[in-house]
Amino acid sequence: MRLSVAAAISHGRLYRRLGSGPRSRVDLLRNLVTALVRHERLEAPWARADEMRGYAERLIDYAKRGDTDERAMRMANFWLTEKDLIHKLFKVLAPRFQPHPGSYTRLLQIPSRDGTDRAKMAVIELKGNPYPPLIRPRRDSEKTLLNQLLKGYREDSRREAAPRLPEGTPL
């Protein structure tokens, strides 16, 4: 049991301290969420983007409930400061992410900011955005050794599984 709280230790604290106080933190995150919904790809300090990610995904989960839901409408009204984006959230983003069960955003780290603070920067984007992709996952070619061995294995098991015709039957 915790008998005393040492001053500078913050083990296990999940919510970061951003801006100048809790009200300022929520306003900062709200602005970031609004910008993400408007532009669908955002470059920001990594800590802010990471903090904002959870709020953005929960907002989309609320939007999936539909705009008739009173709670969802109030959430969208609070979190999106520009009110034309509420329409975009319910009519564009919610149907886009309907088939997915979660993880609607992608967070990728970027080289540190050029200014004196050398802050750790990140790009946060909604999946399915219209821009060109940030990273292209490069798969191994079909003809590498491992892929050839696996291909042979697959073909053998297919040949075993396929019903064998007796020889001499006309095709």
Binding site: K143, T144, L145, L149, G152, Y153
Partner: protein, 309 residues
């Protein structure tokens, strides 16, 4: 005996160039195309060129493409040329795969040669050129007459695999030597199958030169280039031995195995499935049949399409 002849021949070929002559090698590859390297004639190898370029090149490159011809990494360069490196993860690593299969077969041959007691003779026949998709590399061996009824058990294969792992851990380089046919014949005088192979190769080559490869103490003839070092193999297992049916009176046994390089390691579940598959006999006719079957299947589907129209 073969080892000493090999070393003597290598020293003799080195002594042909008492003074160092320089050659210009142009690198035409991805990171810095067009870079000019000045290397020594008959002394520097493509591996030395890779050392000039970067550590990545040294670790990853398996074969070198010298003027469009596939070369070993440790084979000395003889004239000014253009060089490119081939790795396991290229767009078309067919040559690399073949070289890897050949090297694994040679390691297996070395292990088999040393596995039995001195009183039992082991005659290595050859390493058939099997494509990678068949699932296993093989080596044909003729064992002593007294061992005709012996079937290797799982423990025997385990111990053979352990010997192979010891060799791989020693990280021996594969040395190449271009040798005249008569020197090669002198080296392999006791093995008639190797003599046949040397004759075939010498007749194909215009000057009658045969390529020999050596790692550690073991010297062998093979079809083409090999990987640079034994440490390139990561997972290595000798899986099965089958008796081949031929017209000859002696019993030819085909030992089979699977291996994966360090760059393409597999999870143990996948590895065990590949092991199971490699235990089946690999024959050259089966591969031709399989190719014919796949062509037939494609032809069949085309017929169906035309019928539906």
């Amino acid at each position: 005996m073969r080892n000493e002849l090999f070393t003597k021949e290598k020293e003799r070929q080195l002594s042909l160039y008492p003074r160092i002559e320089k050659i210009e090698v142009k690198y035409t590859g991805k990171p810095h195309p067009g870079s000019l390297l000045i290397m020594n004639k008959a002394l520097s190898t493509p591996y030395n060129c890779a050392m000039h370029l970067s550590e990545w090149h040294c670790k990853k490159s398996v074969l070198a493409l010298v003027d469009g011809e596939v070369w070993d990494m440790y084979r000395p360069l003889t004239k000014s040329c253009e060089i490119q490196f081939l790795t396991f993860k290229d767009e078309d690593p067919e040559e690399v795969n073949k070289a890897y299969w050949r090297s694994c077969a040679m390691i297996m041959a070395c292990v088999l040669k040393r596995a039995f007691k001195d009183e039992y003779s082991v005659n290595l026949v050859k390493a058939p050129e099997v494509p990678v998709i068949s699932g296993a590399f093989c080596y044909d061996v003729i064992l002593d007459n007294r061992l005709n009824d012996w079937q290797p058990t799982k423990d025997n294969f385990n111990s053979l695999t352990k010997d192979a792992s010891k060799l791989i851990y020693k990280d021996l380089p594969f040395e190449t030597l271009q040798v005249e046919a008569k020197v090669a014949r002198e080296m392999f005088q006791h093995n008639k199958y190797k003599i046949e192979m040397i004759e075939q190769k010498a007749s194909r080559n215009m000057e009658g030169i045969v390529t020999l490869h050596r790692f550690g103490d073991f010297v062998d003839v093979s079809e083409g280039p090999h990987i640079p070092r034994t440490s390139f193999c990561f997972q290595y297992e000798i899986t099965a031995a089958h008796n081949l049916q031929t017209n000859q009176p002696e019993l030819i046994r085909r030992f089979q195995g699977v291996s994966l390089p360090v760059h393409l390691r597999a999870h143990h579940t996948v590895w065990h499935k590949l092991l199971e598959r490699s235990k089946w006999l690999v024959t050259e006719e089966k591969i031709v049949e399989a190719a014919a079957e796949s062509l037939e299947e494609k032809g069949g589907t085309e017929e169906e399409k035309t019928l539906s129209i």
